[in-house]
Amino acid sequence: MAELKYTKDGRLLFTKEMRREYKILVPNMLPVHFKLFEKVLQKSGYDIEVLTNSSHRVVEEGLKYVHNDTCYPALLVIGQMIDALNSGKYDVNKTALMITQTGGGCRASNYIHLLRKALKSAGYENVPVISVNMSGLESNPGFSVTPALIMQFVSGVVYGDMLMLLNNQVKAYELNKGESEALVNSWVERLLEQFSHGKGMIGEDFRSNLRQIADEFDAIPVKRVPKVKVGVVGEIYVKYSPLANNRLEEFLASQDCEVMVPGLMGFALFKMDNRLDDINLYGGSTVKYKFVSFLKDFCTKMESAMLDALKDHPNFAAPSPYAHLRTLVNGVIGYGSKMGEGWLLTAEMLELCESGYENIVCTQPFGCLPNHINGKGMIGKIRRVFPNSNITPIDYDPSATKVNQENRIKLMLAVARENLSERLEAGSTEKAQHPGGDTIEVVIEDKISDADTPKTEANATAAQ
């Protein structure tokens, strides 16, 4: 069995030996993305498992071992890991935990320390914790972030974003319930298979996969009727994790909405940009600048591959490129606001408004410091830029109740529905002046792209 080694400061290391012997548990955040990441890491020789436990015990363990005023994501992530260790499913003498550390100025960079404290109190002191960071914070002999790994991760991000995006845009309108979700699963399987053969992560493979994903989603039979379109933004964990946001996406779907959740790539680019902005604003090393610029260029290319794949599919609303998001906040908030989701959160809300998703749920853990600034702090200003924006900030923590949250979201949706029907009516009066267009239904037909309706119905028949 691997020997326990410590740093000078007494931190338990993840050694090369452990890499061979240990199972590494990772908390979940984005189900599709994380499945792909899991594979990428397994391919590099780590015995990784992304946790899926999500019973109420997760919150209980969190409350027990984490300072209750700490942000909700910390509580959940740590609760999930302790619950897993308690489950008896893993040999705790051969298990390590993995957690990300951004090194930013908000509390999130401290999760790893809170986790170690919790492990100590729970009697798991000998379970090593691996930090995944790009800030040179903590390192371990048994784990290293190599350039190859970064590139593979980035392709995982793009695939995940693409599947999430298209699934959301098709799911709300599909004729056969469940078809879109099934396609997501099928693609995850196919990608995992390709990944395990070292394929599909880069180059032409990558681009053709993306094109094929778009084609296949576009082939799902749909009936595009006007629906309330809702964007979801916020603190990264709460925004994505169904465990944290009380299954927000499911709830919105049950309210007959189309949901848009901005992808993870924007966040990755934003975090790289932060370093460049720091240098621009305050001065600093140009060597560092060059390396980060290189990485950013790479990610931008990967991002454009995704956007390119969507070009021939007018049925899909392609997200704006990161570069555009950046210009959107000009005059609203400064690029120096980088802690947490920083100005990107504001930018995402602006972009959603711009692209017809002006109904927004802004999610954050109760007391989230950066979101006092970039979320709640900017809603008024966004309203001045987009007077039709309809944003509701929702706080999540163990003591917030689902009923209260849903009631507030329902208010936002009531306003959204009124706006939608007003818009349709305005459309119909306009139409009424022209011969033939006097009912709302007609407008609806018009709104559907010409080729769409017949094609989808044909497909539906074919599918039967």
């Binding site: 005023d69 401290n110 914070l137 305050y282 400064g334 006092h372 600034i373 003591s399 917030a400 329902k410």
Partner: protein
């Protein structure tokens, strides 16, 4: 026919409209959480009254959501329903303010429609007003009547009901008048609504008041009118707007008979998260009862006893406890009762009766403790008063001489402490103002469900599937309980769940223990809440340990006080005797201190023979008429030092600097920089309450820390003074003091200028320089600063900027040096005088008296010298901590804590702003550093609060422990 039903958090309302939309039936009643039954009753009534089987029907309200889902009646969201009603009934309304049972809403109808509901804090609603009335022991209607004759207004924290309660309780204990408190409560509701919901949008034009509280309480309406400077209207049917809107919005025809069928067939399935039952069977319970019946105190019949006795009073937040004991600690008489808002008459009655009934017993020592300690001591001329922790420890030792941990859960407070190796009180945990979950919490629920507390608690003992309610704020526990009811949880299982929740709250929120090993195995539990077997059992279960509950668990404070009296008795007591009691007189008056600029509001208790007791003051000056000695108080020195940075007129213009947050430390830097460059630097004046209120309406996030909120007032003040250019830069990074892994500012300090810029309408009137600057890179700074300034002024030559920047960096170092030098002088002087030294640690802006509420003066009043963390933080080498040490201000805390370990005469007290997310990390770390060296950790959470009762307990306990 159209029907709208509004099922809110506490009431159910319905209206029936005829075809011309006239209201033909309506009703409003409390539903006592029986949501399904009451809705069913409403449907049946409507069916009967109208004789119609089909109608356009919809449902609304927070509790209506569940009903809608369960039986398919369409839902109209409540705020939206109000808006539909407004559109039809009052088309020229501009703004509607609607307060409900647990929700507060503002509807901006004109000029850009916007609807807002309170977020995750439910303060300032109907439930809050009810709670406050209960606290005052009057009905809400009586509270409204009382408020009419108010003469003065107290500042009551408006954030949250629980918070306000901790403000009000001490006011009551100090004898504040009901009318004044009542009125203050209404104003707190107004402030809460405005601070929480206006978010920068002015409330003006035709304002409409809707919902129960605003309909029933004229004084609440006038408080709104007064604050908003307008006259709002409370229209006809103001209670029914949501129901009317639901009726208007109904577009589906519902078969009433079918709906009644579905609803009455609705069986909740018991589908909720449950936890282990408290007892598996009767035997377990019997064993439990037997084990706990052993911890009793002998009683002596007072009718037959003759001789000396000692009197102990514990004047708690909602109750008053009194005990008379014999010299060997046996109980002669005891009394436990609600104080009904004023403890004084209860003590008087008890003593009168005692003197009359037992003339042969002589009280030769009397001591008080608890929130009302001072008042009772002064009113009845007791011999001494002791801090609660000491009283409880004294009593606990009587039961378990080697006790390691004492936990007391009372009506409003949770107090726990460990007992150190030398037998001193160590590590005190008090519930912070926001984590409720004490006795009154159970009481509230028992009342809501219509049961007496004892019976309610007993119900839970044999519950088979207790509801897992977690540990959360009282207000939201309401919705969880409702959810559980909907899911079919029985009252027994809810009762058990609530008892368990009280325990979890104490363990995980207040003490933050994860097991008995952290607390020690020898535990004594006390306080009225533990008299409840369900709570006691839950505690033992959660801890996995057996504990001792004295039979007099509710009287321990009083018993401890009596024991103290007996140990410190001089053989006679100055307590008022029967004759003096006959002349006893007590009156309460208000006054303003006026002896310093704080202008404290004072409550003057006047007793017979011109005896007086003054409370509400921050210092002793109104009592002693001597000026507080601030010479050994670095907080005072820092304030004076900052005053030295006065405006110097210059040819380049005037720059305004808002004095809040990091400016408290960076003023020397910016002042020097700008002055050297020929700008006149004007700062906003020292904070006060009025200034806070001035900016309150523009705060977008009501959960941000108070120091940040104050910033709005500072900027507004500068704008109002006619300053044209305001400088308040964003600073991601602070100076690198090489003590941590990084040197960030916290996100709020770093970027609050963005919030000011985005949310204060008047900011457009001025040049607001909120650019990003990097003071942490002195070499790059001048060039970058020059660039930023060139956006607002003619370009300043780089040479000039460079030399001004050099001077600024110098001045900043000089300023820090001055503080360290003065700090060293204070230390030396204190040592020469044998005084204790407190390192009052926090952030630079905690120097602001409006933020620290004069806590520094309370400490100096206790006879200790005060230095701050930055005086000593450079005295240790960089060392590893167990957290990511990446914020400059916070690194100083760790270093200061480390240094304190080496100094026997120093202790650290940490000031923490409510809502400071980063302090969730620092407090645990500072505590663990201190405890690693055997030092006591004392944390004081501060917010808008102005009452210092809890703070005094903490500090006095600390000093009591130090002295032992």
């Amino acid at each position: 026919m159209r029907i709208g039903i509004d099922v809110g958090s506490t009431t159910i309302k319905y209206v029936v409209l005829d075809d011309r939309n006239n209201i033909i039936h309506k009703s409003y009643e409390r539903h006592l959480s029986q949501i399904t039954e009451k809705t069913l009753a409403v449907l049946r009534t409507v069916r009967e009254l109208t004789g119609e089987r089909k109608a356009l029907l919809s449902i609304s309200g927070s509790a209506g959501m569940g009903i809608s889902e369960a039986c398919g009646i369409p839902l109209v969201q409540e705020v939206f329903a109000s808006r539909i009603a407004l559109k039809n009934l009052l088309p020229d309304a501009d703004v509607a303010i609607e307060l409900g049972g647990e929700d507060a809403k503002i509807l901006f109808v004109t000029g850009g429609m916007e609807f807002r509901m309170n977020g995750s804090c439910a303060g300032g609603t109907g439930a809050f007003i009810d709670q406050m009335a209960t606290l005052l022991n009057i009905t809400p209607t009586e509270m409204n009547e009382a408020a009419k004759s108010a003469e003065r207004r107290y500042t009551i924290a408006s954030r949250c009901g629980v918070f306000a309660k901790t403000d009000i309780q001490p006011l009551l204990n100090q004898g504040a008048r009901t009318s004044d408190v009542s009125s203050s409560i209404f104003y707190a509701v107004v402030n809460q609504t405005i601070a929480g919901l206006a978010q920068g949008r002015p409330i003006k034009g035709n304002v409409v008041y809707l919902g129960g509280p605003l309909t029933f309480f004229s004084e609440l309406r006038s408080a709104f009118d007064d604050t908003l400077k307008l006259t709002g209207v409370c229209p006809e049917n103001s209670l029914y707007y949501v129901a009317i809107g639901a009726a208007y919005g109904a577009d589906t025809e519902i078969d009433l008979d079918k709906a009644i069928d579905t609803l009455s067939g609705l069986k909740a399935v018991g589908n909720y998260n449950s936890i282990e039952p408290l007892f598996q069977n009767r035997e377990e319970y019997d064993e439990f009862v037997k084990r706990h019946s052993e911890n009793t105190i002998e009683r002596v019949d007072p009718d037959t006893y003759e001789g000396d006795a000692f009197f102990g009073v514990d004047s708690g937040s909602t109750t008053i406890k009194m005990v008379v004991i014999t010299p060997d600690g046996k109980i002669l008489r005891d009394k436990y009762s609600s104080n009904k808002g004023n403890p004084v008459p209860h003590v008087k009655e008890f003593l009168e009766h005692f003197y009359w009934k037992y003339p042969k017993i002589k009280i030769v020592g009397a001591t008080s403790t608890g929130y009302g300690e001072e008042l009772i001591k002064n009113a009845f001329s007791l011999d001494s008063g002791i801090v609660e922790t000491t009283a409880h420890l004294t009593a606990a030792r009587k039961f378990m001489p080697d006790v390691e941990f004492v936990i007391d859960i009372g009506g409003q407070d949770i107090k726990c402490f460990k007992i150190g190796k030398k037998g001193e009180v160590d590590s005190i945990f008090l519930n912070e103002a926001c984590s409720s979950g004490c006795g009154s919490f159970l009481q509230t629920f028992a009342e809501a469900l219509g049961k007496p507390i004892e019976e309610f608690a007993r119900l839970g003992l044999f519950a088979d599937k207790p509801v897992d309610l977690g540990s959360r704020c009282t207000v939201f526990m309401n919705s969880s309980v409702k959810q559980a009811q909907k899911d079919g949880a029985s009252i027994e299982n809810i009762s058990a769940g609530l008892s368990i929740s009280v325990v979890k709250n104490a363990l995980y929120k207040v003490i933050r223990a994860s097991g008995p090993d952290e607390l020690g195995r020898k535990i004594v539990v006390q306080g009225g809440t533990f008299l409840n077997d369900a709570v006691l059992r839950a505690f033992e279960q959660e801890m996995g340990a057996h504990v001792v509950r004295p039979a007099i668990a509710g009287l321990m404070g009083a018993y401890g006080a009596a024991l103290y009296a007996s140990r410190h008795s001089s053989g006679s007591s100055k307590i008022l005797n029967a004759a003096q009691l006959a002349d006893f007189f007590h009156q309460v008056k208000d006054a303003r201190c006026g002896l310093c600029s704080n202008n404290c509001r004072l409550t003057v208790n006047i007793f017979d023979n011109n005896r007086k007791f003054i409370s509400g003051n921050r210092c002793d000056r109104p009592i002693t008429h001597r000026k507080a000695d601030d010479s050994l108080n670095i907080y005072d020195y820092k304030l004076k030092l900052l005053k030295e940075y006065q405006p110097v007129s210059g040819e380049r213009g005037k720059i305004g600097i808002p004095m809040g947050l990091n400016m408290f430390e960076l003023l020397p830097f910016w002042h020097t920089l700008f002055t050297k460059l020929g700008f006149e630097v004007v700062t906003s004046p020292l904070s006060n309450r009025k200034m806070y209120l001035l900016g309150q309406a523009t705060i977008p996030s009501d959960t941000v820390c108070f120091p940040a909120k104050l910033m709005h007032g500072h900027v507004q003040t500068l704008i109002d003074q006619g300053i044209q250019t305001i400088f308040y830069p964003c600073l991601s990074y602070n100076f690198d003091e090489k003590m941590g892994d990084n040197h960030y500012n916290c996100p709020v300090v770093a970027y609050y200028p963005e919030v000011i810029h985005a949310n204060m309408p008047d900011i457009e009137k001025v040049d607001f320089i909120n650019d990003y600057l990097g003071i942490h890179r002195p070499k790059d700074f001048p060039k970058k600063f020059q660039q930023v300034m060139s956006k607002y002024f003619d370009i300043i030559p780089l040479d000039e900027v460079k030399s001004a920047a050099a001077a600024a960096y110098n001045e900043y170092s000089r300023y820090l040096e001055k503080i360290r030098v003065r700090g060293e002088e204070i230390i030396e002087e204190a040592r020469a005088k044998g005084m204790h030294i407190i390192v009052l640690s926090g952030r630079p802006y905690h120097v602001d008296p409006e933020i620290n509420h004069g806590i520094d003066r309370i400490i100096s009043g206790c006879g200790a010298a005060i230095i701050s963390e930055d005086v000593v933080s450079n005295r240790v080498e960089k060392f590893p901590v167990k957290v990511l040490n990446q914020w400059t201000y916070h690194s100083r805390l760790y270093s200061a804590a480390k240094y304190v370990l080496t100094q026997p005469d120093m202790n650290l007290v940490q000031l923490v702003s409510f809502g400071c997310g980063i302090d969730a990390i620092t407090t645990d770390e500072v505590r663990s550093i201190l405890e690693s060296g055997g030092k006591i950790y004392t944390q004081i959470k501060i917010d808008e609060i102005t009452n210092l009762g809890a703070v005094k307990i903490r500090l006095r306990s600390l000093f009591a422990a130090i002295e032992e």
